[in-house]
Protein backbone atom coordinates (compact mmCIF):
# COMPACT_ATOMS: atom_id res chain seq x y z
CA UNK A 1 0.00 0.00 0.00
CA UNK A 2 2.83 2.38 -0.79
CA UNK A 3 0.70 4.98 -2.51
CA UNK A 4 -1.82 5.35 0.30
CA UNK A 5 -0.12 8.25 1.96
CA UNK A 6 -3.30 9.53 3.61
CA UNK A 7 -3.95 6.38 5.57
CA UNK A 8 -0.32 6.13 6.59
CA UNK A 9 -0.13 9.69 7.83
CA UNK A 10 -3.45 9.48 9.64
CA UNK A 11 -2.50 6.21 11.25
CA UNK A 12 0.87 7.57 12.30
CA UNK A 13 -0.85 10.50 13.89
CA UNK A 14 -3.64 8.60 15.58
CA UNK A 15 -1.94 5.45 16.91
CA UNK A 16 -0.19 7.11 19.90
CA UNK A 17 -3.49 8.61 20.97
CA UNK A 18 -5.25 5.26 20.69
CA UNK A 19 -2.58 3.67 22.84
CA UNK A 20 -2.76 6.47 25.38
CA UNK A 21 -6.51 6.06 25.49
CA UNK A 22 -6.14 2.34 26.04
CA UNK A 23 -3.88 3.01 29.01
CA UNK A 24 -6.47 5.45 30.34
CA UNK A 25 -9.18 2.81 30.02
CA UNK A 26 -7.08 0.24 31.84
CA UNK A 27 -6.10 2.66 34.59
CA UNK A 28 -9.66 3.79 35.24
CA UNK A 29 -11.11 0.31 35.08
CA UNK A 30 -11.98 0.14 38.76
CA UNK A 31 -14.07 3.31 38.91
CA UNK A 32 -15.52 3.78 35.43
CA UNK A 33 -16.57 1.72 32.43
CA UNK A 34 -13.69 -0.19 30.97
CA UNK A 35 -10.92 -2.18 32.51
CA UNK A 36 -8.25 -4.58 31.46
CA UNK A 37 -10.25 -6.36 28.81
CA UNK A 38 -11.52 -3.23 27.09
CA UNK A 39 -8.18 -1.46 27.31
CA UNK A 40 -6.41 -4.50 25.95
CA UNK A 41 -8.79 -4.65 23.01
CA UNK A 42 -8.14 -0.99 22.21
CA UNK A 43 -4.38 -1.48 22.43
CA UNK A 44 -4.61 -4.53 20.18
CA UNK A 45 -6.73 -2.54 17.74
CA UNK A 46 -4.02 0.12 17.51
CA UNK A 47 -1.47 -2.50 16.47
CA UNK A 48 -3.93 -3.95 13.99
CA UNK A 49 -4.38 -0.49 12.50
CA UNK A 50 -0.61 -0.19 12.18
CA UNK A 51 -0.38 -3.50 10.38
CA UNK A 52 -3.22 -2.61 8.05
CA UNK A 53 -1.62 0.69 7.16
CA UNK A 54 2.02 -0.36 6.92
CA UNK A 55 1.88 -4.06 6.11
CA UNK A 56 2.61 -7.27 7.93
CA UNK A 57 6.38 -7.17 7.58
CA UNK A 58 6.74 -3.76 9.13
CA UNK A 59 4.29 -4.77 11.85
CA UNK A 60 6.29 -7.86 12.74
CA UNK A 61 9.46 -5.82 13.16
CA UNK A 62 7.65 -3.67 15.71
CA UNK A 63 5.82 -6.50 17.51
CA UNK A 64 7.73 -9.71 16.99
CA UNK A 65 6.26 -13.15 17.39
CA UNK A 66 8.44 -13.82 20.42
CA UNK A 67 7.13 -10.68 22.07
CA UNK A 68 3.47 -11.64 21.63
CA UNK A 69 4.17 -15.15 22.91
CA UNK A 70 5.86 -13.71 25.97
CA UNK A 71 3.08 -11.20 26.53
CA UNK A 72 0.52 -14.00 26.37
CA UNK A 73 2.21 -15.81 29.20
CA UNK A 74 3.34 -12.86 31.25
CA UNK A 75 -0.14 -11.39 31.52
CA UNK A 76 -1.57 -14.55 33.05
CA UNK A 77 1.53 -14.99 35.20
CA UNK A 78 1.00 -11.48 36.54
CA UNK A 79 -2.58 -12.32 37.41
CA UNK A 80 -1.75 -15.64 39.04
CA UNK A 81 1.37 -14.20 40.64
CA UNK A 82 -0.55 -11.45 42.40
CA UNK A 83 -2.97 -14.08 43.65
CA UNK A 84 -0.10 -16.19 44.94
CA UNK A 85 1.53 -13.14 46.52
CA UNK A 86 -1.67 -12.66 48.50
CA UNK A 87 -1.43 -16.28 49.65
CA UNK A 88 2.20 -15.82 50.63
CA UNK A 89 1.31 -12.71 52.62
CA UNK A 90 -1.05 -14.82 54.66
CA UNK A 91 -4.40 -14.13 53.01
CA UNK A 92 -6.72 -15.95 50.70
CA UNK A 93 -6.12 -16.12 46.98
CA UNK A 94 -6.65 -12.65 45.46
CA UNK A 95 -7.21 -11.04 48.85
CA UNK A 96 -5.49 -7.80 47.85
CA UNK A 97 -5.65 -6.06 51.19
CA UNK A 98 -3.13 -8.54 52.59
CA UNK A 99 -0.58 -7.05 50.22
CA UNK A 100 -0.31 -4.10 52.60
CA UNK A 101 1.56 -6.41 54.96
CA UNK A 102 2.37 -5.05 58.39
CA UNK A 103 1.35 -1.52 57.38
CA UNK A 104 -2.25 -2.64 57.21
CA UNK A 105 -2.36 -3.99 60.74
CA UNK A 106 -3.84 -2.15 63.68
CA UNK A 107 -6.30 0.72 63.58
CA UNK A 108 -6.23 4.33 62.59
CA UNK A 109 -6.26 6.24 59.36
CA UNK A 110 -2.73 5.20 58.44
CA UNK A 111 -3.53 1.48 58.38
CA UNK A 112 -6.81 2.15 56.61
CA UNK A 113 -5.00 4.13 53.96
CA UNK A 114 -2.50 1.30 53.45
CA UNK A 115 -5.29 -1.25 53.06
CA UNK A 116 -7.10 0.99 50.60
CA UNK A 117 -3.92 1.50 48.59
CA UNK A 118 -3.11 -2.23 48.59
CA UNK A 119 -6.61 -3.06 47.38
CA UNK A 120 -6.36 -0.58 44.51
CA UNK A 121 -2.84 -1.63 43.55
CA UNK A 122 -3.88 -5.29 43.54
CA UNK A 123 -6.72 -4.56 41.18
CA UNK A 124 -4.44 -2.45 38.97
CA UNK A 125 -2.01 -5.31 38.71
CA UNK A 126 -4.78 -7.68 37.70
CA UNK A 127 -6.16 -5.21 35.16
CA UNK A 128 -2.74 -4.67 33.63
CA UNK A 129 -2.24 -8.42 33.40
CA UNK A 130 -5.57 -8.88 31.67
CA UNK A 131 -4.82 -5.96 29.36
CA UNK A 132 -1.49 -7.47 28.31
CA UNK A 133 -3.09 -10.86 27.62
CA UNK A 134 -6.01 -9.49 25.66
CA UNK A 135 -3.85 -7.16 23.59
CA UNK A 136 -1.37 -9.88 22.70
CA UNK A 137 -4.12 -12.39 21.94
CA UNK A 138 -5.82 -9.89 19.64
CA UNK A 139 -2.54 -9.24 17.85
CA UNK A 140 -1.74 -12.94 17.58
CA UNK A 141 -5.15 -13.79 16.17
CA UNK A 142 -4.90 -11.00 13.64
CA UNK A 143 -1.42 -11.95 12.54
CA UNK A 144 -2.33 -15.60 12.24
CA UNK A 145 -5.54 -15.10 10.28
CA UNK A 146 -4.27 -12.31 8.06
CA UNK A 147 -1.17 -14.26 7.18
CA UNK A 148 -1.49 -15.41 3.58
CA UNK A 149 1.80 -17.26 3.32
CA UNK A 150 1.67 -21.03 3.60
CA UNK A 151 3.83 -21.74 6.56
CA UNK A 152 1.90 -24.56 8.13
Amino acid sequence: MSEHIVIKRVSNFIIPFIQLFSLYVIAHGDISPGGGFQGGVIFGASIILYVIAFGMKDGRTRISEILTDFMNSIGVLLFAGIGLACVIMGGAYLEYTKLAGSAGEGHGSHAEHALHLAGHLGIYGIEIGIGIVVASVMITIFFETANTQDDD
Binding site: I31, S32, P33, F37, V137, I141, E144, T145, D150, D152
Partner: protein
Protein backbone atom coordinates in the same frame (compact mmCIF):
# COMPACT_ATOMS: atom_id res chain seq x y z
CA UNK B 1 -52.26 -13.46 25.74
CA UNK B 2 -51.22 -10.01 24.59
CA UNK B 3 -49.52 -9.39 27.96
CA UNK B 4 -47.47 -12.52 27.50
CA UNK B 5 -46.30 -11.37 24.11
CA UNK B 6 -45.68 -7.72 24.91
CA UNK B 7 -44.81 -7.92 28.58
CA UNK B 8 -42.11 -10.50 28.13
CA UNK B 9 -40.82 -9.42 24.75
CA UNK B 10 -37.19 -9.85 25.80
CA UNK B 11 -37.76 -13.58 26.12
CA UNK B 12 -39.33 -13.76 22.69
CA UNK B 13 -36.44 -11.91 21.12
CA UNK B 14 -33.88 -14.10 22.80
CA UNK B 15 -35.69 -17.27 21.80
CA UNK B 16 -35.95 -16.05 18.21
CA UNK B 17 -32.25 -15.21 18.12
CA UNK B 18 -31.30 -18.53 19.63
CA UNK B 19 -33.41 -20.47 17.19
CA UNK B 20 -32.01 -18.54 14.20
CA UNK B 21 -28.52 -19.38 15.37
CA UNK B 22 -29.41 -22.97 16.14
CA UNK B 23 -30.91 -23.41 12.69
CA UNK B 24 -27.79 -22.02 11.06
CA UNK B 25 -25.55 -24.27 13.15
CA UNK B 26 -27.45 -27.37 12.14
CA UNK B 27 -28.68 -26.71 8.63
CA UNK B 28 -25.89 -24.76 6.95
CA UNK B 29 -23.20 -26.66 5.10
CA UNK B 30 -20.65 -23.87 5.07
CA UNK B 31 -18.42 -24.06 8.12
CA UNK B 32 -18.09 -20.29 8.48
CA UNK B 33 -21.86 -19.87 8.36
CA UNK B 34 -22.12 -22.40 11.17
CA UNK B 35 -19.79 -20.24 13.23
CA UNK B 36 -21.90 -17.18 12.46
CA UNK B 37 -24.91 -19.14 13.65
CA UNK B 38 -23.02 -20.08 16.79
CA UNK B 39 -22.34 -16.42 17.50
CA UNK B 40 -26.00 -15.54 17.10
CA UNK B 41 -26.90 -18.47 19.33
CA UNK B 42 -24.62 -17.24 22.10
CA UNK B 43 -25.77 -13.66 21.64
CA UNK B 44 -29.31 -14.80 22.40
CA UNK B 45 -28.21 -16.05 25.81
CA UNK B 46 -26.25 -12.88 26.46
CA UNK B 47 -29.38 -10.89 25.68
CA UNK B 48 -31.37 -12.98 28.14
CA UNK B 49 -28.92 -12.34 30.96
CA UNK B 50 -28.57 -8.62 30.29
CA UNK B 51 -32.31 -8.09 29.97
CA UNK B 52 -33.07 -9.83 33.27
CA UNK B 53 -30.68 -7.52 35.05
CA UNK B 54 -32.85 -4.47 34.35
CA UNK B 55 -34.29 -2.84 37.44
CA UNK B 56 -37.23 -0.57 36.64
CA UNK B 57 -36.02 3.01 36.90
CA UNK B 58 -32.48 1.78 37.37
CA UNK B 59 -29.44 3.30 35.78
CA UNK B 60 -26.11 1.98 34.57
CA UNK B 61 -24.42 0.12 37.42
CA UNK B 62 -21.39 2.36 37.71
CA UNK B 63 -21.22 4.17 41.03
CA UNK B 64 -22.07 7.79 40.42
CA UNK B 65 -22.72 10.60 42.84
CA UNK B 66 -26.25 11.16 41.61
CA UNK B 67 -27.13 7.81 43.25
CA UNK B 68 -30.44 6.24 42.50
CA UNK B 69 -31.32 2.62 41.85
CA UNK B 70 -28.82 0.72 39.77
CA UNK B 71 -29.42 -2.22 37.47
CA UNK B 72 -28.15 -5.53 38.76
CA UNK B 73 -24.48 -5.58 37.75
CA UNK B 74 -23.89 -9.30 38.33
CA UNK B 75 -25.44 -10.58 35.05
CA UNK B 76 -23.44 -7.95 33.20
CA UNK B 77 -20.23 -9.24 34.71
CA UNK B 78 -21.20 -12.83 34.00
CA UNK B 79 -21.88 -11.93 30.41
CA UNK B 80 -18.54 -10.20 30.11
CA UNK B 81 -17.07 -13.62 30.85
CA UNK B 82 -19.46 -15.29 28.43
CA UNK B 83 -18.52 -12.81 25.71
CA UNK B 84 -14.85 -13.58 26.24
CA UNK B 85 -15.67 -17.27 25.99
CA UNK B 86 -17.67 -16.66 22.85
CA UNK B 87 -14.87 -14.66 21.25
CA UNK B 88 -12.29 -17.31 22.08
CA UNK B 89 -14.52 -20.07 20.74
CA UNK B 90 -14.92 -18.10 17.53
CA UNK B 91 -11.19 -17.56 17.28
CA UNK B 92 -10.47 -21.26 17.77
CA UNK B 93 -13.14 -22.17 15.25
CA UNK B 94 -11.81 -19.76 12.65
CA UNK B 95 -8.28 -21.03 13.14
CA UNK B 96 -9.59 -24.55 12.63
CA UNK B 97 -11.43 -23.48 9.49
CA UNK B 98 -8.27 -21.94 8.07
CA UNK B 99 -6.44 -25.22 8.61
CA UNK B 100 -9.36 -27.24 7.25
CA UNK B 101 -9.32 -25.10 4.13
CA UNK B 102 -5.58 -25.60 3.77
CA UNK B 103 -5.80 -29.38 3.99
CA UNK B 104 -9.14 -30.07 2.27
CA UNK B 105 -9.38 -27.19 -0.16
CA UNK B 106 -13.00 -26.56 0.74
CA UNK B 107 -15.09 -25.44 3.70
CA UNK B 108 -18.34 -27.08 2.65
CA UNK B 109 -19.33 -29.75 5.11
CA UNK B 110 -20.89 -32.13 2.56
CA UNK B 111 -17.85 -32.02 0.30
CA UNK B 112 -15.56 -32.74 3.24
CA UNK B 113 -17.68 -35.76 4.14
CA UNK B 114 -17.28 -37.05 0.58
CA UNK B 115 -13.51 -36.49 0.67
CA UNK B 116 -13.29 -38.26 4.03
CA UNK B 117 -15.22 -41.25 2.77
CA UNK B 118 -12.80 -41.52 -0.16
CA UNK B 119 -9.90 -41.35 2.27
CA UNK B 120 -11.14 -44.41 4.10
CA UNK B 121 -10.01 -45.28 7.58
CA UNK B 122 -6.36 -45.56 6.88
CA UNK B 123 -3.64 -45.77 9.45
CA UNK B 124 -2.16 -42.84 11.21
CA UNK B 125 1.00 -42.15 9.21
CA UNK B 126 4.02 -42.87 11.30
CA UNK B 127 7.10 -42.05 9.31
CA UNK B 128 9.43 -42.85 12.20
CA UNK B 129 7.95 -46.28 12.81
CA UNK B 130 9.75 -48.07 10.00
CA UNK B 131 13.10 -46.77 11.16
CA UNK B 132 12.63 -47.54 14.84
CA UNK B 133 11.76 -51.19 14.61
Amino acid sequence: MIEIILGKYNYWIYIALMMIGFYAMIAKENLVKKILGMNIFQTGVILLYVSISKVSGGTVPIIWDKGGPYDNPLPHVLMLTAIVVSVSTTAVALALIVRIYKSYGTIEDDQIVVINSHDGDKEIPSEKASTII
